[in-house]
Symmetry: D2
Subunit: 332 residues, 4 copies
């Protein structure tokens, strides 16, 4: 099965949601209390994904709201610098801040994030700032779950989905769940369900699908059985090192495997996975290949220091896949 995309569109993908600042520990393998220097990168799941896709040669755009300060301007400059269209990045005029994520890397297995998400500009994106003429130029609209956490950003996303469906733009929903910004599990579940039912492709970890279903013991079978009654054609459920599963409405199931690499930290795995997986779909590759692209891209990013700058090129991804194929042949 392949996802049928509109072929005559200026943008391969337009993402909507948060773009913020990662402050990554320069001195790592220690608690953050002992880290004295931090390096600044652009961060935020949908921003990382479009930066990754831009690096893979696709034409990407972004709809979002930035703080009217040095961090906001840095984000715009950086994204523009890597080729992302930033004409729909609105500047907040009400004093809201850029979201921050300080990363702590105690060890490759013990990573955590200290988030600053109070009164952040991205959650103040307004429905009136979502533009139909822009969205209708895209093959794909990528929606990030975090943008649903608060009004008015939440309603801006609903409007974007409404416009995408009206204009035959495929909607990809990346669950991207960040507990910090949500008030209650009931609220998260309500909006995740509403959006997932309207999306064409849904991507998330098993834990994130559990959040959507407001249960702790969800199963992939229940998840797909419910969602395939609605709009989705393709559902990707990630199970960490055990790999991932792609389900199609027509009943196919594909399994993807994680590539073993030297892990520096776990941040950025999901975003790099999504960007390469979507790259493959847009490039008209089959789903099995897309799963390999996702895994390879994730393996590369977790071995490096950042989430955005570390995004690989097509050559790097294909090189990793080829290397591992040889190993597999050699091991047979």
């Amino acid at each position: 099965m392949k996802i049928e995309l509109h072929s005559e569109r200026e943008f391969d993908i337009i993402a909507i949601g948060r773009a913020c600042i990662d402050l990554n520990a320069v001195e790592y393998n220690r608690p953050m209390e002992e880290t004295m220097t931090f390096k600044k990168y652009v961060g935020g799941s949908p921003a990382n994904i479009v930066i990754g896709m831009s690096k893979l040669g696709l034409k990407a755009g972004f709809i979002g709201k930035l703080a009217d300060d040095q961090h906001g301007r840095f984000i715009e400059q950086y994204m523009r610098g890597v080729g992302v269209d930033t004409t729909q990045l609105v500047v907040d005029r009400e004093g809201h801040k850029t979201g921050l994520a300080f990363t702590e890397i105690k060890s490759p297995e013990e990573c955590s994030i200290l988030m600053y998400r109070d009164e952040v500009a991205d959650l103040y994106l307004n429905p009136s700032e979502v533009n139909e003429a822009y969205i209708k130029q895209a093959k794909i609209l990528l929606v990030s779950g975090t943008a649903l956490a608060k009004s008015l950003s939440r309603e801006a996303v609903f409007k974007a989905i409404y416009l995408a469906k009206k204009n035959n733009v495929k909607v990809i929903f990346e669950l991207d769940y960040r507990g910090y910004t949500w008030v209650s599990p009931d609220e998260t579940s309500a909006y995740y369900t509403l959006v997932a039912e309207q999306a064409d492709v849904v991507i998330g970890t098993r834990e994130e699908f559990n959040v959507m279903e407001n249960r702790t013991d969800g199963s992939n079978e229940d998840t797909i059985s419910h969602l395939f009654k609605h709009s989705p054609e393709l559902i990707v459920i990630k199970h960490g090192v055990e790999g991932s599963y792609a389900y199609t409405k027509s009943g196919e199931v594909f399994k993807g495997y994680a590539y073993l690499t030297e892990v520096l930290k776990t941040f950025g795995a999901g975003d790099s996975y999504a960007s390469a997986f979507l790259y493959a779909l847009i490039s008209n590759k089959d789903i099995e290949t897309a799963l390999k692209y996702g895994s390879a891209s994730a393996a590369i990013v977790v071995s490096k220091h950042s989430s955005s700058e570390a995004m690989p090129t097509v050559e790097e991804i294909e090189h990793l896949i080829a290397e591992h194929s040889k190993e597999i042949v050699a091991n047979q």
Copy 2:
């Protein structure tokens, strides 16, 4: 066309949303500044509708949240007294208040309402307080637009709709727009659209449909053309004294006429209309007849002092319709 309802259900209708207190001017035909005494009634659109339907002989239930005070207890006692099932009326434990509506009747044409809707208990209904076992006992779930104005009531309504659709309960969406509680037109439009697309029947005034569409110059044709692409089977659009239109998905259009009566005030017209219209649908009458029931019920309520206590019986409605039929015959 008739709406196919599940025949084996304990409740004809279950409504979700606000129940509050009306304080109606005892001395009227003057500005409220000169009114010194107020009479207390139960109010709130969905509460009025189920009270009306209960009086029409149907079995009705209510899902809502009441303040833990004398006004909250009065509402529960009154609704129970007229036969409404109040087992799902949850008592708020966080100090929220009962919504109030002081009515001013300067003249039959100049009526206004002074609303108290800050921190009201009904908007704190929680998704976890919405019960699947209860909803699946109903033929119809009535959703009132005001309940969408704030979290968590908003998410409680989304959950109720999700459970209704899962259990083959028809969803009626009464737009019931009250500007006071909403933050922005964009927000209202986003949620009204989401709910209307999922409902089986949508009822509102032309002005309320304009609010849903976030435009001032909406047309019935545009409205039905959009909504009939989604779930709705029946859409009723009211145009005040010019009457109302009922549109079916299969392409029928019915016009209903307003009955002329002596008007004391305009409050309660919409609620009494909805209760009698829905009564007729549930009683398996055709849509033309249902439109007459709605108009007759509205005509009776606007000639009386309250919205809830004034709800007519079936005999009163049928008597008014019969009287007017004679006039029409006489006029021919």
Copy 3:
């Protein structure tokens, strides 16, 4: 001892704080659930006090903020009607509401109030709306504790006190504690202490002084020992039916006795007490006489239905005092 007041001032008293609406049960001696009709009066401690003093023949003014609605306009009209200067009653332009108090009279001993104090206009009085030219025309500034419950009203009161002291206007602090509007006992205690230390006269019940001291077992001795180190010259502590005590900085103590009357409800006792007590002070009577005026006025108001309209005249007060003097003589 007498309080030395500036003799050449246009206003005997200017009060600052809340003016709101009382909705008193027309059918009483029952739970409010069974009361179907409510009668509207102006209410709020400082408003009642100046209405009472105006009725006693003094020249009073009021600084406050009113909702831009029918209730707000009624308050202004009523106060103006009884002779209070309302030129400093500012109209709120941000949609805030008039505070409400529904009174429940189960029996003379069991009275309670259902308060609506969320987002009320009076708490939005702004320091910039407090006018030095106005305050300096007064002999006395009356500050009500409730006005300290929230910013910006709180800061408006601090500014008024600052201006009063600068212009040799005596500051009377009526503790008027209403738990509903306060966030924490620590907060209340902090501001009550700050204001009491700056006031010239402090009036409250023993329970209210305990709130100020953030303890449950306060004693009059501790209270006066602390406050007389600061500005206060006169402190009145009320102990309900046991009567009240007036302490002067110079060491005098006066005891006042409650008059026995037929009690309809307990509301309004404190306000009528304060208005007659202050009337007596302003009229240059001694403290013992002032205590009698306060008690007589309270006795009259608790036998009637409202708090504001029931405020007695000088004749009624003096008549009651005279009657009781005869009884006492007769009993000797």
Copy 4:
């Protein structure tokens, strides 16, 4: 004139207020957009002052609230490491954050700060967390103006001042005005005035005194004429490079001069000034000498990268003063 301090107290100084994180540009003399690395320091005016005083050999303690995260723990560890007593640093349990200040150094003359102050832990210090037994062990209580910006921190400061005055602890008020956290100039003015009137020593820039007086054209004469009617004995008003003035209640005026140095950035000048000035007062030096200590300390800190770590020793301060005295002699 000298300030009479209690000689038998365990702590020379206890400060109350914010302790937070500075993130200083590693690559500077450029806009922050081009700074890619930030170095972490403890920051916040009262924290800097006690760190400075501890380095000068005094015994200092701190009352404040820290986030329950890596930044909060770093602050506690650092302050403890330089000898500050941290037993009264409470850990917030409600998810509040550590305040942040990103510093931008475009040039020595163009410095700015990007503040993160939404929902910061320090503003949630609670009056119940202020301990009389602790405060009464101090010679001096240092109050920072920023701690007055919000409830409950504001009320915690009022309680601390109340306890200080009760226990004969001198109150120093450092105006430390940060516009970002305040809602309105009226509010700032109200609380700055209340605290300044109760303090024994008040220190601030001319601009900060203007904020206190809610005017743009304040004069030192007006300021001292008002404040000397209340508690203050000593008032220090700083005029940037023009130097500073110290006024005593008994009528003396001292002028202090700024030392010329190579300036890297302007941050930290006020805090280093205050710490050395107070050190001199506590060490029983006269006011003229104290002014020199303040200026010398400020000159040293503005030539270095941080505000806290750069705090000088007594030797460095006295060396600078001596060097400059030679120059002055040489220039005569």
